[in-house]
Symmetry: D2
Subunit: 404 residues, 4 copies
């Protein structure tokens, strides 16, 4: 065990991280700085201050990071159309690098030599926190209590809380749900309990952010998204900040039963796990972004992006946001977005998002004159196609002769 003087703890104010707080003080005989961020998880963050104060913490950081989160993490990732394993919109993954960055910045500000978090040793989040931390402050000490302590059962945790004077009381109010949950402005996730059987359907009352498609309105909702350089800057013509965009889309999506997902995914640590996710706004954003790109992006640029997307998504999922390879890919992706400007019209209805129109005044590559089924006045010479095909076929013909 390393000698540690001061540790910055990612502190939610809940029971688990309160226990961790005490355990850190006891085990490492060190000072604890708490850090609590509003990244749109939908819970008040101020109560964390009271609790931290009650436990004698002197340096308490409580911050609203919602705009930064969407602007610098969610939006760049959506420029890449990132989807992990064909389905997952990376809702949990994308929040971790921001937390890691703030933990390290606060460590630098407060002179702390360590950080700590409440993620278990089985999941991806420990990796995401720690890779970020090491990349930003190579000499930092990372303390992951779940990998170190012997409080492996709920009973032992409760006993520890009681013995150390942690109000078990406030613990009662949280976790009404039997699921392990995580939320931020992009999504809410559910794992564990009956979901551990991948054949079992999730219960309808598990879902918290969206109505079921069955309970969504019987009439579709139409919306119009305005894009600038690949990012949404207005909804229905109304300019909005990044976080406000996502909040509005979450509301629209949630009301229309959009964004529920039930998958088995491959964790970086080597196991498969089953998760359910609600990503109402993100689901709409993904559809919209592809639509505006379809009009404004060159074919080969689009295909190159598509071929690299799985790698990009894997990097984000595995926790390599703060890596030179992710930054290098981002440069390329951002470069591709300079012409991704215009509007997309979408229909939201009982669980599905459909594109019904897209336009771009200055940046469309759709050339009606050429594409038309009508007479094109020579804009395109059909005879060119003969030579195009002949030369593309040449190698196939030579091989066919050979293979006989």
């Amino acid at each position: 065990m390393s000698k540690v003087n001061k540790v910055v703890l990612a502190y939610s104010g809940g029971l688990d991280t309160s226990i961790i707080l005490k355990w850190l003080e006891d085990t490492y005989d060190c000072e604890v700085v708490t850090f609590t961020a509003d990244i749109g998880q939908g819970e008040e963050v101020e109560p964390a201050r009271v609790k931290a104060e009650a436990m004698g913490i002197k340096e308490i950081y409580i911050e609203d990071l919602r705009e930064e989160f969407v602007r610098d993490y969610v939006f760049p990732m959506f420029r890449a159309n990132a989807i992990y394993e064909g389905e997952y919109l990376l809702g949990t993954s994308i929040a971790r690098p921001l937390i890691a960055k703030r933990l390290i910045e606060i460590a630098n500000e407060t002179g702390a030599d360590a950080i700590s978090h409440g993620a278990t040793g089985k999941g991806n989040d420990q990796v995401r926190f720690e890779l970020g931390a090491y990349a930003l402050k190579p000499g930092v000490e990372v303390i992951a209590p779940w990998r170190e302590w012997d409080l492996s059962s709920r009973e032992s945790l409760m006993a520890y809380a009681k013995n150390h004077g942690i109000e078990v009381d406030f613990a009662k109010s949280e976790k009404k749900s039997p699921y392990s949950m995580d939320a931020n402005l992009l999504h809410i996730s559910y794992e564990g309990d009956i979901l551990e059987d991948p054949w079992a359907e999730a219960e309808d009352d598990m879902w918290r952010w969206s109505v079921s498609p069955e309970n969504a309105p019987d009439k579709p909702t139409y919306i119009e998204l305005t894009y600038e350089k690949g990012d949404i800057v207005a909804i229905d013509g109304k300019a909005m900040s990044p976080a406000t965009v996502l909040e509005a889309l979450n509301k629209l999506g949630g009301d229309n039963g959009i964004g529920r997902l039930d998958i088995v995914e491959n964790r970086y640590v080597g196991m498969k796990s089953r998760g359910c996710y609600e990503t109402p706004g993100g689901t709409i954003m993904m559809k919209g972004h592809r639509a505006i790109e379809s009009l404004t992006l060159d074919r080969e640029v689009a295909h190159l992006k598509d071929s690299l997307m799985p790698k990009y998504a894997e990097l984000v999922y595995n926790g390599y946001w703060w890596s030179p390879e992710r930054e290098m890919m981002q440069k390329m992706i951002d470069e591709s977005q300079q012409y991704v400007n215009g509007d997309v019209r979408l229909k939201l209805y009982k669980g599905s998002v459909s594109v019904v129109g897209r336009r771009s005044e200055n940046d469309s590559l759709f050339d009606e004159k050429i594409a038309t089924f009508e007479d094109d006045d020579g804009a395109y010479d059909q005879k060119d196609a003969a030579g195009f095909i002949k030369l593309n076929a040449l190698r196939l013909r030579i091989a066919a002769k050979r293979n006989k």
Copy 2:
């Protein structure tokens, strides 16, 4: 213009290919063999025989290729999870290689030295037909009348028909739609007319295979798909042949408003075009296949497949089915499917398909004992994660020290 003795024509029995038939005879002074296939387009093929006979054709091929189409083309493609440009399920693309193959086989049987088709010089289909033909018979002559003749307007076509004694009469019944359409067991497509404005929403009465989500039943339908080596072999426990599977899923999907798509796509010939597609069964199949793979496929195999998928889809879209690179990729993909066995449970509801369960008696890689949030009895040692992260972070830490 090459000297041609006998040409095999992909003949639908409609007005356009009937004009082509005559034009070939007149222009090339050659014999014409007609080939009409049922690939599930939903129109009778026998009438084509009467028409061909009426025009004096002696060698008439009329064939039901539905099982071959789904078994040897659609299913292998779905093993790859192939989606073009993030959206398009390649419904038109995948039918062309089969037609090309039969055209060539018939040319070989009948001693024809040429083939002909009714695809225009602006689209992808000419490329798909011709690359296939050249790959299978390198010395074949290909006649693409739309690239050669001067019948560029509907009026000139009608005049030609009248002058050459082609019953314009039967022409009337077809094309009630203002759209350019194409159909096979996998999908039906719409292009042209008001769709040439990508901002204009498709009219509801354009769609032919599915009810609108609004008109779909108010209650969800649950189905269970059984997979063997990546292919569906049974629905709700009832064994079915490939074509029967797809027909059944088309019915289920169409009834529930599933599979409508409205996109702008990049054609191989260099232009963007807007198309609307209905792929009810294919949309269900895609979701189901990913779900059974999520349970049975190794992570790195799945990621490798994902990273190559865009390339595979591009090959199919561009018409390179009969190329060594597609065959080489298929070998790899098929190899990956040996353990893709089991069942998927899906919910169909008003336009959306959701996975609600997946299982595989013998081939699941989901290890409940390891994944559990509960005590795992040492199946997984959380301490291993510390070393895992430390070594994965090593290069980032060294770089961080350097970059300061």
Copy 3:
């Protein structure tokens, strides 16, 4: 045939392009502007002025583009470690985009509506010239006489020259070689004649830029290259401009028998061809660049570059320098080079280049303390490797249990 008023011709001053000059005037009844560039091909460019003037040309452009060529084309390409089909250093390919760009710029300056070049219809160069031209001036007319005229034999060309008063005289001096050749500062190439039999060894007197390894000095030459952001800025400590660097390395390489290559390559137009190349300086540069990257580039950045390199090389080979996808990849590659600073020591000896040392004062990622076989004082904890391996093996173990 389009109506053309003024055409900019890539004019070498040799017989072929002189014939083209006349043919353009005669066939298109248009004015001709000549453009002759020194890109290091090793021939005087001023004589082209006299010849052009003799043929009555009024607008004559003669330019020394060597620095621009190396700085903006060769160096960026070497940052990517671009090699086509495992062997070819893209010597011809990389010169074409610059010529295309100048042709278009001159067309814009002189009000010309067309450009013309002397590349045949079988090769890659026509594609490279024309894709560049179209990308930079979409409405330009391109005239490729070799694809249009009927002067298919040397005799008919000579007859045309005689009939049109072109001094056949000056033609005599050129082409002492039976090979089709191309040269610029990066390389010289040979095709045709006995090389058309891929089993035949090239004759020793074909090679012009390098001595044979057998005739190279019996003692090795050591050199030291200094890199800044991936580009060579000094040789043996002496600062040099890009073109000067390449000239010096050509001399060093040529003297030591370095850079000869004999390959069969796949042309973009669909055929295989056999070519011999001398790239003395480029061969040294490739080796040196990989060496300095090996010390200063992050592993995953290097691997990402390697995985994209074949695509990048293909783009350059196929003529897509002026495409958004090449530019997008370049952004990423250039981003990766910020730390590629330092020195490489190389041994040149009778045809081979070997790296014998590399160092980087500020940007090395080689950490002697960690890498050492000696005691490392805890810089690296070997026990971490156990967890690293265990988690990386987890999916393999689960699969092994399943597969039994």
Copy 4:
């Protein structure tokens, strides 16, 4: 520490693994089975039997695996043209999976529940051994003494040997070299000592398998390699088994100063290390294989192989030979080799290998009639190139108009 009954040790007969043998018995109170393989390292393996017997071992496996090694590991890898980080021919990496496989097979035969090896905790070999072992026998225990014991200095090792009656005597004879070395039929490697400074040139007397280029013969040696399905089956017309091929090429290469390499590489465990390698035969094989492929492989197949090669090489380097993703890629690669038949002629001279000719009676795709600079009698219609270029340029032209 796990309870272990019997462990199979990869035993070289040298001092280190003799100490490990004792340490395993003492520490785990278990029976030890020794396994010593001849994979072409150039040392007798029989002495290992005497030493093992002297230490009381009852189950001793000594095997000649040279043919299996080359046939099932080296040759398949060369079909992929695998090179790690642009330089390294994977000589050490490719031997490990075979050792891992035999360790596990012997464990199964002898009822052992563990295996052990002498690789350190800093290198790649531990990973390669252990990933292989876990993939082949998921429940096996792996003991890596270098990660566990406290014998971190040479002195403590010697003391341990002395205290446990291990003949230090025979230890004297080995390791005359100050370098950490590894050898098999494919290569010999050197690390450590002065090589830990990447700027220091390797001393000439370090190299053991090849003469220096300076000392190689003054006359080139020409050889002819015959390929069947991508593998060499004869040299100069003489049929040979796989191991005999590699032995012969090692001799030829070594005599001509071929195959020395000095690099800095990125280890999987996260650090850079400097290594020197001699791979005389492998260097010749790589050149020859690319040459025969250049004649017989379709362009797109070759490019697809090139684009996947870095991934394949990474898998081999990192130890994932026994993974489903490597096997899946191998399927694709092997499929590509069916036409890779024919002969390659090579010139070996003072450190370099040059291709001077290649031919394939039945499988060449080089079509002299089409490629020729002479009149081709219409085999290729140059006018086709105009359409080819026009359509490939279309998207660029549309974009150019937009971007203005």
